[in-house]
């Protein structure tokens, strides 16, 4: 009886999660996949026809937005690494007994809704808003200068919105480093800079790796930042998909674009994991 229960336990533990994913991920994904291969229109209905044209047409029409999304995702991720690493480092090594307070402060803005935060950025950055208004009235920037509706605004918004997802994994990796190991490096004649480059940085790479995964993917497929901060000329593939689904109700094109994006991200992640996710990288970095 107890043997039976013991052998069933792993499955029982997995059951809720599996059920959840089956209902809310696998089934919709299959439905979407079939949608992307259908043809027809909203009025007359769609039928499954193995229609590859949605893919071909989608990519040829919207390749600009696809590339833009990848570029924005990449830049926002890089900015987050540059901003986030020192923060994670400081909390992990200098935070003392107040580490959890600092982490809470970091997450505090994120108790406010994602959309609301982005809209408040819009207020802040608007052409005569809190930032540019005073600067313009003081004559420090030209009257026609604007930040909103530029790619910088979108990348900045993306970098801001996903920052905690970059900092937290990096913090976890840095926090796990035994301070004695850093002392050992110093004991073995490494300067502070060498200790950082040879020991801290390589040991934090798994955290950076996880942080990049957790921010690059949602940033690339995001549409809120582009629509709130980016105006009309900086649309990302997320905006296109949203439009096709909700406004044009062109479900096959929207689904085909979604799968295209998913395929690109998967290929990118696998290439990235192969290049960075192995133990050899750590060893090379340590040399």
């Amino acid at each position: 009886m107890s043997r039976l229960r013991a052998s069933l336990t792993p499955y029982l533990l997995l059951f809720p999660g599996t059920l959840w994913l089956a209902i809310f991920f696998v089934i919709p994904t299959v439905v979407m996949l079939s949608l992307s291969l259908q043809s027809g229109d909203v009025v007359n209905g769609y039928a499954f026809t193995f229609n590859w044209h949605s893919y071909v047409d989608g990519i040829s029409t919207y390749h600009d937005q696809i590339i833009r999304s990848l570029v924005y995702g990449l830049f926002s991720t890089l900015i987050q690494i540059v901003i986030g690493f020192p923060v994670a480092y400081w909390i992990a090594f200098k935070g003392g007994s107040r580490k959890s307070v600092y982490l809470f402060l970091l997450l505090l803005p994120f108790l406010v809704s994602f959309v609301l935060r982005t809209i408040s950025w819009q207020f802040f950055l608007s052409d005569n808003g809190m930032l540019l208004g005073p600067l313009k009235s003081m004559g420090l920037v030209p009257q026609d200068f604007h930040i909103l509706a530029t790619s910088a605004a979108v990348i900045g918004g993306l970098a801001y919105n996903f920052l905690p997802f970059m900092i937290l994994p990096m913090y976890v990796a840095l926090e796990r480093i035994d301070p004695r190991v850093l002392e050992a490096a110093q004991d073995l004649y490494a300067s502070k800079v060498q200790t950082f480059l040879r020991v801290v940085l390589p040991l934090s790479l798994p955290g950076v790796f996880a942080g990049v995964l957790m921010t690059f993917v949602p940033a690339t497929s995001d549409y809120v930042n582009a629509s709130v901060l980016g105006g009309t000329s900086n649309t990302m593939i997320g905006n296109v998909i949203q439009n096709q689904f909700l406004i044009n109700q062109d479900y096959p094109t929207a689904s085909a674009l979604s799968f295209t994006l998913m395929a690109l991200l998967l290929v990118g992640i696998f290439a990235y994991a192969r290049a960075l996710g192995t133990e050899d990288v750590l060893e090379v970095a340590a040399r």
């Binding site: 190991v181 002392e183 050992a184 073995l188 004649y189 490494a190």
Partner: protein, 382 residues
Amino acid sequence: MTEIQAGPGAAVAAAPVSGDVPAIELDNVVKEYVSHGEVVQAVKGVSLAIAEGEFFSLLGPSGCGKTTSMRMIAGFEDPTQGVVRLHGEDVTNVPPNKRDINMVFQSYALFPHMNVWDNVAFGLKRKKVPDTEIKRRVGEILEVVDLVGREKRRPKEMSGGQQQRVALARALVNRPRALLLDEPLGALDLKLRQAMQIELKRIQREVGLTFVYVTHDQSEALTMSDRIAVMHDGLVEQLADPREIYERPASKFVAGFIGTSNLLSGTVQQVTGDTAVLALGASDRILIPADGALAAGATVDLTVRPEKIKIAKDQPEGDLSVVRGTVAEVVYLGTYNSYVVVLGDGAEITVFEQNAHDSTITAERGDTVWLSWQPWHSYALR
């Protein structure tokens, strides 16, 4: 310079190796920490000088300040007061990477992202030693610690003993002028521990290196060290060679901490010649060498080691310390028997009896026995 100063009141012993300048010197060093707004004195004023090539141990119970003292030598902690000198040079404000000594950490602190070879080569690379020499020296030292063929392993793929040897090799390969070891064998099982003790001692003798060895294991300190500083509560209680520490403990604390010892006390009844007589009961008396300090009426704390005491069923003859008691416990321990004897006044005395002939037991539980020992085996504590 061979004169060694120990903490307040501690014995002074000459260093076994005479050289001009001590390899390591702590001069009245104090270390205070502030924790939760309260000042904690981890080290309360330690002075010691460690000679070149010496195997020097810091021995003491947990929390007595051993690690803190060692970390100040290595440069990881700044002394609140006092001076640290290496080979006569004041290094109190020199960072650890500029000190020509290496440390073997209690937890090894190997670089988890590097294999054995890279771990060991780390220090030489930082010192910009040419590649061919790095290759040769790392190869040599891995042979010394018996890790040839494991160069590509990561620390987590190795046993505790192997990691310990990597940590040792990583420090030794730099040929530092002194090696600091903080309970390096603490995590090993008894067999491996003993093997490593012999190994460490061999390496130390072969390389002629100064070793500062932190341990709270008294038998380890006694077997390996040239000299031992027994620490207690941030101070050095006694600084001497192992024999001296064992035979002539400077304080009650040292006597109690090192080996098994019997602590007794009594009042001096009379002094005849160079022997003082302490009366304990009707037929019991303790003889103790009178070094001039003992006068009739003085109260004395003294210690006797269990192996110095003879146990017998009959009253012994001669100028001996003699006490009578009841056997409370007998333990057969293979090479010897251990007895606990309770005296008339309730004091307990432990006696070891060698099983030199047959494994016969002199007395059983409940027997009345006589204990005796030579006057010079009574050792007065200050």
